[in-house]
């Protein structure tokens, strides 16, 4: 039985899958005919909004939700060659339609449930009969007595009757879900959404999580925000509801409108932590709108120096908080705390931590080369009136930032000197060519060798070289090496 290469060729073109296709074909075709009829009549009363709808969702003419449709869907497993085969055969529908039903194991229920009863005809009814009645909502359920209907093959009118009651619709959904095929599930959901009332649909989905997730995804995809929100509300999934509502703001371009929209998000049931962030988001945009209007005006008037020298590159609208703080440290550093655009006001309103604030202010003032402001940023006075330099971010970071903004050596070395760790200090000083700091540090460390080595790095005949020479020749220092 070993398959050779030639066989494989044949296999892809025809062999195995076709074999089972033929087995099923008649079965499928007769079902097809039945369900087609069934659904055609179904449309008359189930679907009174749009005649085309049922057809619309089909691929080959069968309405979505019809059995044949689903079967074809499953048959698709065997690859599209199989499907093509089916198409061909479907064209010669009438020739096959009269054939008796063969004993087939290929049916919806066996596929889904994994039950195989060779020789017996399995159909939807089969699958139904072993599903516990309690899985249906009472509204959709039928009296127990009616169960016998299911033990027989169903006729078109039965189908219609049952579908009309809704029970089979839910069954359809369960079958689709057990296939894990998003396409089928979505198809069934579209059908259900159209034919069931919102309340019933939601209630049924509440106990069918997989289908529920698909519906949520589907609603997001088609942008049916209203139904989505209704659904979350029904499910009491309030946080998701809130997030979903909040997400909408991304689609609003106009800043005023976006701000108004964000206002509606405040008070939605977010987690406590998120609520604060949402509130901040709103407040920030509100500020930005005020600042933007004001600054655009200032810039146009051309009276303010900082705007003339450093024209704004972009609007501040919708920028993150830290960016906004940078902006305000850049353009509005000296403003009194009372104005919306003052950095201190931002810091207070949004409870910006010291570290963050200092970092941002430093970067902004250094960019403007306002060294005096930089100095003030790190100067603290104690209660005795002594001043002291202190940096919550560590002076090594200060140096890095200053260097990035090409601060002059005089400024740099002042802060390099403040770095506590000696090794770090020496590294930074060497890296940024703060000669005096390197020389002094070597002297303090009594490291003659390092000083000697450093001599080659300074310019010939410079003041630094002289200083090094003086130290090297000094008899006052007890070198350690």
């Amino acid at each position: 039985m070993n398959r050779t290469k030639g066989d494989e060729e044949e296999y892809w073109n025809s062999s195995k899958f076709k074999a089972f296709t033929f087995d099923d074909e008649d079965d499928e075709l007769s079902q097809l005919k039945e369900s087609k009829r069934a659904v055609n009549s179904l449309r008359d009363f189930v679907d009174d909004d749009d005649e085309d709808d049922l057809e619309r969702v089909s691929w080959t003419g069968e309405p979505v939700g019809s059995i044949s449709w689903s079967i074809k869907e499953t048959a698709g497993n065997s690859g599209s060659s199989h499907e093509r085969e089916q198409l061909k055969n479907r064209n010669s529908f009438s020739t096959y339609a009269q054939l008796p039903k063969p004993a087939s194991t290929y049916s919806l229920s066996s596929f889904f449930r994994g039950r195989t009863r060779p020789g017996s005809f399995q159909s939807l009814s089969d699958a139904l009969s072993d599903t516990p009645a309690k899985s249906y909502a009472p509204e959709l359920g039928r009296p127990k007595g009616e169960y016998r209907d299911y033990s027989n093959d169903w006729s078109p009118s039965d189908t219609v009757r049952r579908l009309r009651k809704g029970k089979d619709k839910i069954q359809l959904l369960e079958e689709a879900v057990s296939m894990h095929d998003g396409n089928v599930i979505t198809a069934v959901l579209i059908f259900l959404k159209r034919t069931l009332s919102k309340e019933i649909l939601f209630r049924e989905l509440e106990v069918r999580q997989v289908a529920l997730r698909h519906l949520i995804h589907f609603l997001k995809e088609i942008g049916d925000q209203k139904l989505l929100l209704d659904l979350f509300r029904f499910l009491d999934r309030t946080e998701e509801l809130a997030l979903s509502h909040y997400r909408e703001h991304l689609n609003i371009q106009d800043p005023e409108k976006r701000k108004e929209f964000l206002k509606t998000c405040i008070g939605l049931p977010f987690s406590a932590e998120d609520s604060a962030h949402i509130q901040d988001h709103y407040t920030l945009l509100e500020r930005q709108i005020i600042i933007e209007a004001n600054d655009r005006h200032l810039e146009l008037a051309g009276q303010t120096e900082v705007f003339r020298k450093h024209p704004r590159k972009a609007s501040i609208l919708n920028m993150p908080l830290v960016t906004t703080l940078f902006y305000s440290c850049f353009y509005h550093y000296t403003e009194a705390e009372g104005t919306f655009s003052s950095p201190v006001n931002l810091k207070k309103t949004f409870k910006i931590p010291d570290k963050q604030y200092v970092l941002t202010a430093l970067a902004a003032r250094a960019k403007l080369r306002a060294w005096h402001d930089v100095d003030a940023l790190f100067t603290t006075k104690n209660w005795l009136g002594y001043t002291k330099k202190r940096a919550p971010i560590g002076f090594h970071r200060v140096v890095e930032i200053l260097h990035k903004n090409s601060a002059p050596v005089q400024v740099l070395q002042e802060y390099v000197n403040l770095v506590e760790d000696v090794d770090t200090k020496l590294n930074l000083a060497t890296k940024f060519k703060c000669h005096d700091v390197v020389i002094d540090t070597c002297r303090d460390l009594k490291d003659r060798q390092q000083l000697l080595a450093y001599r080659s790095k300074v310019d010939k005949g410079s003041a630094e070289e002289e200083k090094i020479d003086a130290l090297l020749n000094s008899s006052q220092i007890r070198w350690k090496n």
Binding site: M1, N2, R3, E8, E9, W12, K16, A19, F20, D52, R56, V57, W59, V64, T74, G76, N77, G79, S80, S81, E83, R84, T105, S110, F111, F112, G114, T116, M179, H180, D181, G182, N183, T186, A187, I190, V210, R213, H214, H217, E221, I222, L243, Y246, R247, H249, L250, E273, H277, I278, H281, N318, M319, P320, L321, V322, K355, Q356, L359, I393
Partner: protein, 621 residues
């Protein structure tokens, strides 16, 4: 024919031929001359199975990229759209079709959906009033694409996001379908192992599908002995850590898409006039990376620190070979030398390329920041200080490093601590929102939903137990001549691969406790074979295992699997690991929902390169 596909233990050319045949059949169905309009995304995957020549043989005369408004003029009878089932693409197609009707002779339209037809899409086409214009609407199920002799990929970038974020299991259905196709070609796989919720579902679907086929027994002698299905969320750590193999780093830094990488052109400028004498190239240099290239096959899976020495050794060999020409005295010798020239030229070209790539990578890996980042990652993975706010991460945020980098580190810390302490989590969140924008509340929620970021519950950190039992952290790593899979991350042994290793020996029974801690069920299923097909195993014969990662795999993990397979080959109790890996899932990046227009990291986010593993899936053999 792609020769490199047949090197492995399983000849993947069989699969490639099968998918090519199907493509030809579809093309022949649309009789007459044709133009193909491509969803650009698909050209990558299709390029792996067919060249333009194949299309040309079937009367494809023009190819266009799908875009709005009118189709470019083309004197052909058929216009065929090759598209993914996406709603936004349907709108473009409709636009094309509608503006077409007003001009010239009528042409036939067709659509080929890859990998599946979608109901929603056809409905959209109908809404737009063009559905009737299409004569053939079909699907082309390109489920598993052969990538290399030992690797298959589904190339479905969104799989992770769909499965774990949107709970859309369609990709699992495709995976099951792909595995059925594979079994149809290579025989029923007798044993299926799995770990994780998705793995369970795929196995269930396979079993169900198989039952449907009972009418016709698969009579092919099985090539694979085992199938191992692994959920990506069983091991979220590996995709978060920085990969340190050569191929892994290429992917981390430049991103490998459909086995191609785009590199900055400067390093590849022609050095000699003879090379065309053109100006400096300005377009990115595009290279295909697979084992068809001898040198690449040798270095791709090495730790980057071991690549340099191989390259310099190769350089010596090649220049020695070129020197040979001076020794060639007789006509015969010269003739022999000349006959080897093409091979030598190719080897030299390949060496030049990889030397340039290695230089580019080295620039990154020797930077201070790369080192700092790696140090933090390794601390986390070895269990140091995972429960407090990390100052390096803080610095990254303060300096506004790319968001994706920050998120990756925070998620890594969360995974290595079985969730972050609420206080720590809140701190990171606040910093991120203030620096990168409040709209990232959505991003953070997505990460939480996917389990990448979470608060610690129950106050218990399980990671140390997992780490110790599975020996995930190895202190002494030999990067040059590895003895353990941990070399791929310079210390961390990828959890997923460890699971595969332990499965083959001594079996999962030894690690029951850890398996219970990891998410999702673990299971074993047997697919009975008719007696005629049962293998009589020769002593010492290797077993072939197909490993399928549901939700993607990293190149480093693939390297680790290849390493295992070689190791096993050498040993007496060899069991060969064959693995198949499906395509990687999405990256963290796809969780970033919003970036304001001026955010420079936006593009990086959408391309999703850095985060998760991008790679191809596969099987090795």
């Amino acid at each position: 024919m792609a020769a490199h596909l047949s090197y492995g233990r399983v000849n993947l050319n069989v699969l490639r031929e099968a998918v090519r045949r199907e493509l030809r059949e579809f093309l022949d169905k649309c009789a007459g001359s044709k133009a193909i309009v491509w969803d650009e995304y698909l050209t990558g995957p299709f390029g792996l199975i067919a060249q333009y020549s194949l299309l040309k043989e079937h009367e494809v005369e023009k190819m266009f990229t799908l875009k709005g408004s009118r189709l470019p003029a083309a004197d052909v009878k058929n216009i065929i759209f090759f598209v993914r089932p996406r709603l936004e693409l349907m709108d473009i197609i409709a636009e094309n079709v509608l503006s077409e009707d007003r001009r010239g002779p009528a042409r036939d339209f067709h659509i080929l959906f890859v990998p599946r037809r979608s109901l929603l899409c056809e409905q959209r086409l109908k809404d737009l009033g063009v559905l009737g214009s299409f004569i053939h609407r079909e699907e082309y199920s390109l489920d598993l694409i052969p990538f290399d002799g030992d690797l298959l990929s589904m190339e479905s970038e969104g799989a992770f996001k769909e499965c774990y974020l949107e709970s859309d299991q369609t990709s699992l259905y495709h995976a099951a379908k792909g595995l059925m196709t594979l079994q149809a070609l290579y025989g029923t796989i007798p044993q299926i192992f799995g770990k994780g919720e998705c793995a369970r579902q795929v196995a269930n679907m396979m079993i169900r599908m198989k039952r449907e086929f009972t009418g016709s027994q698969n009579s092919i002698f099985p090539v694979f002995d085992n199938l191992l299905l692994l959920d990506r969320n069983v091991d979220l750590l590996s995709p978060l850590a920085t990969q340190l193999t050569y191929e892994g780093l290429i992917d981390e830094i430049y991103g490998i898409q459909n086995s191609y990488v785009k590199l900055p052109p400067e390093k590849f400028a022609p050095k000699k006039q003879g090379d065309g004498g053109k100006d400096l190239p300005t377009e990115a240099k595009k290279l295909q990376l697979n084992s068809a290239e001898e040198l690449y096959a040798e270095i791709r899976d090495k730790n980057f620190n071991a690549v340099g020495s191989v390259l310099s050794k190769k350089a010596k060999v090649i220049s020695a070979a070129f020197e040979e020409r001076h020794n060639a005295k007789t006509v015969g010798e010269i003739k022999q030398f000349v006959s080897q020239l093409p091979h030598m030229q190719a080897a030299r070209g390949s060496l030049a390329n990889h030397t340039s790539i290695a230089e580019l990578i080295k620039d990154v890996t020797t930077s201070e920041d790369f080192f700092d980042k790696l140090t933090v990652e390794q601390e986390f993975m070895s269990g140091i200080d995972t429960d407090k706010v990390n100052s390096y991460i803080e610095d990254c945020i303060a300096q506004k490093h790319p968001l994706i980098k920050v998120l990756r580190l925070v998620c890594l810390q969360s995974v290595c601590n079985s969730g972050l302490k609420q206080k720590v989590l809140d701190y990171y969140k606040r910093e991120i929102l203030q620096t990168y924008g409040y709209e990232h509340i959505l991003t953070l929620h997505n990460l939480e939903k996917a389990g990448l970021l979470k608060p610690q519950t129950g106050g218990r950190n399980n990671y140390p137990t997992i780490r110790k039992t599975l020996r995930l952290w190895m202190d002494d790593v030999n990067e040059q001549n590895p003895t353990d899979i941990s070399y791929v991350y310079s210390g961390y042994a990828p959890l997923s691969v460890r699971l595969a290793q332990l499965l083959s020996r001594p079996g999962w029974r030894s690690i029951e406790e850890v398996l219970r801690i990891l998410p999702g069920p673990h299971f074993e299923e047997r697919q009975p074979l008719p007696t005629g097909l049962q293998k009589k195993r020769q002593p010492g014969e290797n077993r072939v295992t197909l490993i399928f990662f549901l939700g993607g795999v990293t190149f480093a993990e693939i390297a680790a699997l290849r390493f295992l397979s070689q190791l096993e080959d050498g040993g007496s109790r060899a069991s060969r690991v064959g693995r198949c890996r499906p395509r990687p899932p999405s990256t963290c990046c796809s969780f970033c929902e919003s970036c304001w227009p001026s955010c420079s990291s936006a593009t990086r986010c959408s391309s999703g390169r850095c985060c998760w593993p991008v790679g191809p899936p596969t099987s090795w053999c």
